[in-house]
């Protein structure tokens, strides 16, 4: 049924009208197979880190409600558990899953098998080893002491650099061997992310900065790790999943261009808005706030582009968990970016700086956007690589409801608590203690949300185990939501 045009075999063939390129299912299966080893390995490791990070996050959250909880041993104190949670989630769960997603996307989008797959596998293993070493050292008390850069500079960071470089080499070798003329928007994002990440990670970890410089470089890195690494690969994934599942082209190539280059230009300057009020030169702060305001251009461009791609077809979300999660993630990207722009304004920042608002904001970004997009990607990719379907509709539903609902509670509760805390900190008539006690009910709600989300993670990990390691999936021939009767379609093909 997809044989309208033979699949392109040469560079020349691929200059066909792009919409006419049809790829046969066998060919796509061959692309998927070429990256099977690193993709599955990456997803497996990512889910393990997800569970580890969940436990660390839960402990950190509970410590706010009961400060004396688990404080007898130094390695269980907040100062070590909380950075461990951050690093495990960012470098263990998100980054490792993103390796797999990029290694799966590139062969499909470049219409060629994955090159240097062994290097990619080795890269993922080295990265994981580096992170494991770094996390153990962190828990044992050896930290570089800068947020997002805590992992040990001597033992962990070189392994992380080597791992990401190996995966990046495989990505770029595949890109070089492409058999398409036109590069689809996802390729821009995925391929650019690797050099960007290596540049910022090495720059952030160089041991040459002191004082204010160090703080500036710290936030240059931390903000760009989000903007030029976590955001880009996930936007690439969403740009692939939306049109792919809905069966419609991306709304506008021009908006894609504005979105990509706008992000590349403005995001890199944003970091200093974390240091508003700090002793940095005015021009650094002002440039950063200006660049943050300018982020509205790429964010609105991407928002329009993705919305117009899906609009009128939101009903299709009922039949595809991957689409559901991708759409929620895309909306969250718009939401978190607009919230970020708002928070960068001096008048708002005065209230929200040093409050729980920031934690709510970062979870809106790293969870509602990045993590849900990764879950969506795994729902779509794993059945295709494993050639088995997810066995249970109920588990998929339970997972999405738990993590989605839990995170909405989390963000709303901490957002409100953060603003109240900020206002209390600014009120001259109230002592410092008032601002602390006023946040307690909101922090309790955060812990409740954390438990709900953790339950969702356990459901997901169990379901992934059923899919990958048991034969239950092979009995299911249809995607989990297939049996539902579509109601959107009025006219059927004769």
């Amino acid at each position: 049924m997809t044989e309208t045009v033979a699949s392109p075999r040469t560079q020349q063939d691929s200059t066909l009208e792009h919409s006419k390129i049809r790829v046969s299912a066998d060919e796509v299966a061959a692309y998927d197979h070429s990256g099977r080893q690193p993709v599955l390995l990456g997803f497996f490791i990512a889910v393990v880190w997800l569970l580890v990070g969940t436990v660390l996050g839960d402990i950190s959250s509970f410590k706010f409600d009961r400060p004396d909880l688990l404080s007898e041993q130094a390695y269980l104190t907040f100062g070590r558990i909380r950075p461990a949670h951050l690093n495990v989630m960012v470098y263990g769960w998100a980054s490792t899953a993103m390796f797999s997603i990029s290694l799966w996307l590139m062969p499909r989008l470049c219409r060629t098998r994955l090159r240097w797959a062994t290097a990619a596998t080795a890269g993922i293993l080295i990265w994981t080893l580096g992170l494991a070493v770094g996390t153990v050292l962190l828990i044992a008390g050896y930290s570089d002491g800068l947020e997002w850069l805590e992992l040990d500079g001597q033992w962990a960071d070189p392994l992380l650099v080597a791992g990401a470089a190996l995966v990046g080499a495989s990505i770029w070798r595949t890109l070089a061997a492409r058999r398409v003329h036109h590069l689809y928007v996802s390729v821009w994002y995925v391929a650019a992310s690797y050099p960007w990440f290596l540049i910022i990670f090495i720059a952030g970890n160089l041991p040459i900065y002191q004082g204010v410089e160090s703080a500036a470089v710290n936030w240059f890195y931390a903000h760009n790790a989000l903007g030029l690494w976590l955001t880009t690969i996930n936007l690439g994934l969403i740009y692939y999943l939306l049109p792919k599942i809905i069966g419609r082209p991306i709304y506008s190539y021009w908006l894609s261009l504005v979105g990509f280059w706008g992000l590349a230009l403005f995001y890199a300057l944003n970091g200093m808005h974390h240091l508003i009020g700090g002793p940095l030169p005015s021009w650094m702060i002002a440039t950063s706030i200006t660049a943050s305001i300018m982020m509205i251009i790429p964010v609105v461009a991407v928002g329009i582009n993705q919305h117009m791609t899906v609009v009128g077809r939101f009903g299709a979300m009922r039949y595809s968990p991957a689409l559901t999660l991708a759409v929620i993630a895309a909306m969250s990207y718009t939401a978190v970016s607009l919230q970020g722009i708002l928070t960068a304004l001096v008048s708002v920042n005065r209230i929200t700086h040093f409050t729980h608002w920031t934690i709510a904001h970062s979870h809106l970004g790293l969870y509602m956007f990045v993590t849900l997009s990764l879950f969506g990607g795994m729902y779509y990719i794993l059945p295709r690589v494993l050639k088995k379907e997810w066995p249970s509709t109920r588990l998929v539903r339970a997972h999405i409801l738990l993590v989605g609902g839990g995170m909405i509670l989390y963000v709303v509760a901490l957002g409100i608590g953060g603003v109240l805390q900020g206002l209390s900190l600014l009120a001259p008539s109230e002592g410092f203690e008032v601002s602390v006690t006023s946040t307690r009910p909101w922090l309790l709600m955060r812990s409740v949300a954390a438990v709900i989300i953790s339950a969702g993670h356990i459901v997901f990990a169990y379901h992934a185990y059923l899919l990958a390691f048991t034969h239950r999936g092979s009995l299911t021939r249809q995607p989990p939501f297939f049996e539902l009767k579509p109601v959107l379609v009025k006219k059927r093909a004769p």
Partner: protein
Amino acid sequence: MNDETRQHDQPIQSEKNEVSTLALHDEAMHETAEPFEDTIKGPTWFYIFVVLALVVGAFYLGRHMGRLDNAAHIGFLHDGGSKDQAQENTQASTVSGASVFGSRCASCHQANGQGVPGAFPPLAGAEYVLGDPEVLVRIVLHGLQGEIKVAGQTYNGIMPPWESQLGDEEIAAVINHIRTELGENQADKIDAALVKKIREQTKDRQTPWTASELEALGT
């Protein structure tokens, strides 16, 4: 599923590149077409919006950028907010004690001067603040270290020296502010000449004061 699915093995009628949702399911068993991009330009209002955003951004940057040097940012406190003006304001003879307090002291001693129990001593109602101004000027100039008893509570921390950051006028202004504005505090005001005198007297001092040294001074 057999008969139903068979029917769809023929190419599906599509409208404007939209495959029906039903076909989507059938194809999901295999693979849908690879995604591609339309070349629609996008709404005109978006491009107008881009220009507007650039104008607003340029205006904001021009207004707040200040000079391209490495002097620390003081904050967008004043109208016209450029750094030059802010600096002039702090150097002028009418220095605002409240503004110095807000930027230098309030992060530890809190905006209301109540401190943080167990960590930072209060200024409101504190003997050191309301007592001999010569002692207070010394504390602000060189900082304070070690155990100290304030308002019946013992604290053990460190306060940084402000000798090199704040001028005589600024120190006098902030001392007058904490002696008269915080809580119920009502004590005599001092002038910059006193700060200048004590700065001269203690110019060789390198370390923060301790409570016992200050006791010795008072007697």
